[in-house]
């Protein structure tokens, strides 16, 4: 392993050359090589290293751009109108500009995860020592698949991760520079750079999660990780309530430690929102998960929190206004989000607490995590006492408030889902609050309706108040994030995944910007769990999966096991844990197929693309981080489906199934270029409806390497779902059935009839040892 900045100091050194006194030698890096696997072809790839691989994918999946803005306003030549075939003053086209925006979004996402990782690394190395062993998963040798694959290093301690993070940061700077006026101009090269940002993002994710697993005692790939409590109703509002929001768990850990050290866990409620909540529950399952990002505004507005602690990412930027409205202080714990607050990091805790409790200051910036616990707990306890019996927000009779509604429709117009808010107000005027309550499950909690309302109706609070009976009962179990997939699990499922007998791996990840409420994610999960896919999940999606019960009162975490196997529901954890999902695909190539891992990105991606039937689904994708995570999947050849709002990423990567020339691969056995059909058909796709997504997930799980048995299994799911939701047989089966044995036996007559009508010929679609890489051809004939 490499050691950085090694210093040697000799008071006196005698050698054949003479005697040296006061000699100091500083070496930038020592490579202490303990990894016997030879270095692969692409250690720490630069921006252009994997360009040819990206172009292979982008040749198949050509971008379709849907500009959000027809102008470019990034330099003083502008605004430049790029509409149609116009060019900007710098020469940039609309396609170039759109791909540039995609790349910038991916860079923002990757930077956010890398900055998160850097903060944690610095803090954890200081607290635990850089030599802390990187023990991150049970029964596992491949501890860091992304770091090994991309950087070509095998980290053994948390300090070793610094080299990977240094690399990521250096590359992100290069990428952002490419976005400057007068640099990159080609849209496909911008797309390649977006892929690069995505690859870097997964390294940063992995670094971030591994070091917190190694130091904080989070579950180490345990399929039976404990169940924690989730939901609005899990919080006992009579106690002092600390609400932690964001993604960086370190301040929350200090709060939990303080509660434990002072035996206060029974007296104070600590709950989290968004990924911080996941990681809090991984640290101590007694901390509560209030819910996903969409619960943030609703929960604050309820008045339940007595103290709000924000760390970083996905926090409401108006949290100060929201906290002020309910009369509670805010502790900001990251320099990335100072919120205009005074830096009190170096002030005595008691002084900060006094100012917060008295209201002298509405909040404080305390950027040293180890100082947050005492301030947060003591402040919450005192504020709770001060707020007395009437802390919960009660608007009084909703009909009176609703009577001010002008029925101007501005609320509906501003709502991302065009929810019938105005109709609910009209009903509320008459004392019927049911329509208001029904909005709760559908509302993404953005608050734009309140902002748009010309008479300032507190719409979100009204919805929350109308649905308070349901909210109080909102209590669900969730299996806490287990972290990585164990090597032994990969050995078990590698073969059935690669040959298609496990019909696919569905990763339900991402944010909560859903088109029709949170229930859709659980619907997707259950559909594919019943079909014996492996369902992995993380982040807000993992929370929302918990929030649906069957008739027997059980949710999916109670019904399905947490192991990485057919019919398993695997919650890996927070956003940064997404690296374990792609990491599992990498490990299949390495552990099951024994493909060299070290700095061997193209070959591993080629293997995953052609063999591992994994599909990412970000049904509520919202952020630039989600864009970066998706981009990391694309470069590995994993298709991603987003929900309708995901179309606002403004670019799809779509295959053309009817263009036979687009779907050729090399047969690694003899070098022949053969047609394998359009599998997987798309790389990035926004589905308009849930039903469309269900069908597409099953379809995108097909790969050229499927055995006949595997292809038949996958086709049976595709056909079954298509018939169910589209009311007929699919009309493209001739593109996916390669030979008679591929046809699902129970549907044979129906399918044969369709194939005959399409002029299908057996074995026109080949079943090679598929690769897109010429260099992997073993022998040429």
């Amino acid at each position: 392993m490499a050691n950085k900045n090694v210093k040697l100091k000799f008071d006196e050194l005698s050698s054949a050359l003479g005697t040296f006194k006061g000699l100091e030698i500083q070496i930038g890096r020592i490579v202490d090589e303990e990894w016997e696997e030879p270095m692969g072809p692409t250690p720490k790839p630069s921006v252009g290293t994997l360009r040819s691989w990206d172009r292979k994918l982008l040749g198949r999946y050509k971008p379709f751009y849907m500009p959000f803005c027809d102008l470019c306003c990034l330099c003083t030549y502008g605004k430049c109108d790029l509409t149609g075939d116009k060019k900007g003053a710098c020469g940039l086209t609309m396609a170039g500009q759109q791909s540039r925006i995609v790349m910038i979004a991916c860079c923002i996402g990757a930077s956010t995860h890398a900055a998160h990782g850097r903060h944690m690394l610095n803090h954890l190395m200081e607290e635990y020592g850089r030599d802390t062993p990187l023990e991150v998963a049970l029964n596992t040798n491949v501890e860091a698949p992304h770091v090994r694959l991309v950087c070509g290093i095998k980290p053994q301690t948390i300090g070793d991760l610094e080299e990977a993070l240094d690399y990521v940061e250096t590359q992100i700077v290069q990428l952002v520079a490419a976005a400057h006026t007068g640099q990159e101009g080609d849209n496909i090269d911008f797309e390649s750079k977006a892929f690069h940002a995505g690859m870097l993002d997964h390294v940063a994710l992995e670094v971030s999660d591994l070091m917190q697993i190694a130091t904080l005692g989070l579950p180490k790939g345990d399929p039976e990780a404990p169940l924690a409590e989730l939901g609005y109703g899990t919080i006992d509002a009579t106690k002092p309530v600390i609400m932690c929001i964001g993604h960086n768990v370190l301040p929350s850990v200090d709060i939990i430690d303080y509660l434990m050290d002072h035996d206060l866990f029974d007296q104070v409620e600590i709950g989290g929102l968004c990924c911080t909540a996941h990681d809090m529950s991984r640290y101590d399952k007694r901390s509560k998960i209030v819910g996903p990002i969409s619960w943030q505004l609703k929960f604050i507005k309820s008045g339940i929190p007595d103290m709000i602690v924000v760390d970083e990412q996905c926090i409401r930027t108006d949290v100060m206004d929201q906290a002020r409205a309910i009369g509670v202080p805010v502790l900001a714990a990251s320099e990335k989000s100072c919120l205009g607050l005074p830096d009190r990091t170096h002030d005595p805790a008691e002084a900060v607490i006094e100012d917060l409790v008295s209201g002298k200051t509405p909040g404080a910036l305390v950027i040293e995590p180890s100082k947050v616990g005492e301030i947060a707990v003591k402040t919450a306890m005192a504020v709770r006492k001060r707020r007395g019996e009437n802390k919960l927000v009660n608007l009084g009779e909703l009909s009176e408030i609703a009577s001010k509604c002008r029925t101007c429709m501005e609320c509906i117009r501003s709502c991302p889902n065009t929810l019938p808010i105005m109709d609910a107000m009209v009903a509320a005027k008459e004392g019927d609050y049911r329509p208001l309550a029904e909005l709760n499950d559908l509302c993404v909690g953005c608050g734009r309706c309140e902002s748009a309302c010309p008479v300032d109706l507190p719409i979100v609070t009204m919805i929350t108040q109308a649905s308070k009976d349901e909210l109080i009962n909102e209590k669900y179990p969730i299996r806490v994030g287990r972290g990585a997939i164990q090597d032994v699990e990969i050995r078990e499922v590698g073969s059935p995944i690669v040959f298609g007998e496990i019909p696919g791996v569905v990763a339900l990840v991402g944010c909560a910007n859903y088109p029709a409420g949170y229930g859709d994610v659980a619907t997707i999960a259950e559909e594919f769990l019943k079909r014996r896919f492996i369902v992995v999940t993380s982040g807000c999606s993992a929370m929302n999966i918990a929030m649906t019960r069957d008739e027997d009162g059980q949710n999916l975490y109670e019904k399905y096991p947490g192991n990485f196997d057919a019919g398993g529901l695997v919650n890996v954890g927070s956003c940064v844990s997404n690296s374990h999902i792609t990491g599992a695909a990498i490990k299949i190539a390495n552990i099951f197929a024994k493909r060299p891992l070290r700095a061997n990105y193209e070959e591993i991606a080629d293997y995953i693309y052609n063999r591992v039937g994994a599909v990412g689904v970000a049904w509520g994708a919202m952020s630039q981080k989600a864009a970066a995570i998706a981009a990391g999947c694309w470069r590995l050849g994993i298709p991603v489906i987003v929900g309708p709002h995901g179309s606002k990423y403004r670019r799809m990567l779509l295959g053309d199934k009817d263009k036979e020339e687009d779907w050729k691969v090399y047969n690694a056995r003899d070098g022949e270029e053969v047609y394998v059909g359009p599998v997987p058909e798309h790389l990035f796709y926004a589905a308009e409806t849930l039903e469309e997504a269900l069908v597409l997930i099953s379809k995108l799980a097909m790969r050229p390497n499927d055995t006949s048995k595997g292809r038949a299994v996958k086709l049976s799911h595709y056909i079954d779902l298509y018939k169910k939701h589209y009311g007929a047989m699919p009309d493209d089966l001739h593109l996916f059935v390669r030979r008679g044995q591929d046809i699902p036996f129970t549907m044979k007559d129906e399918i044969v009839k369709i194939l005959e009508a399409k002029g299908w010929v057996e074995d026109r679609i080949a079943s090679p040892d598929p690769t897109l890489l010429d260099r992997l051809v073993r022998r040429r004939e």
Partner: protein, 181 residues
Amino acid sequence: MAAKMNTGQIAEIAGPKKANIFPNADVAANLISKAKRPLLVIGSESTTVKTNDGDLVDTALRAMKNKKVSVVATGHLVGEFRKRGVEKAYSMSIFVLGKHLSDPEWRGFDGKGPYDAVVFAGFPYYMEWLVESGLKNFSKLRTISLERSYQPNAEWSLGWMPEPDWRETVDKIVSSLEEGK
């Protein structure tokens, strides 16, 4: 009732080029009727949009009586056409369709050549907004929005109007198409 010209429509405007608003239903009907190969694109919200025919699917079925009108249902909506006994509606994802429509080489669903007018109805606002943005910038197609809200990225849009007015307008347009069968 005819739609009114209203240049002050509230919408999310992407740039200088934005949709013309039909001054009345006759102009819209003429424009669509004049097309040699019009394509009617029906979105997933069509079953919840009420029209004089019932819902937008029913209205599309009436438009299909004009043989030159091709209809494509997006999302999984084609199942709804099949439930109503109609097999000849095409099915395609809205964005895959957008990509095909922006390809001048695409020969259409029937292989007979490109469409010369594409009419949208029944979509979530932002989805139609986006796909029409793609077509505005990357095709020469005539795009027409029949939504109740102004869709600025179409070439022509009805513009916002009260629901009864919109129903009448759509009815008039489709009746005109039906008469031209």
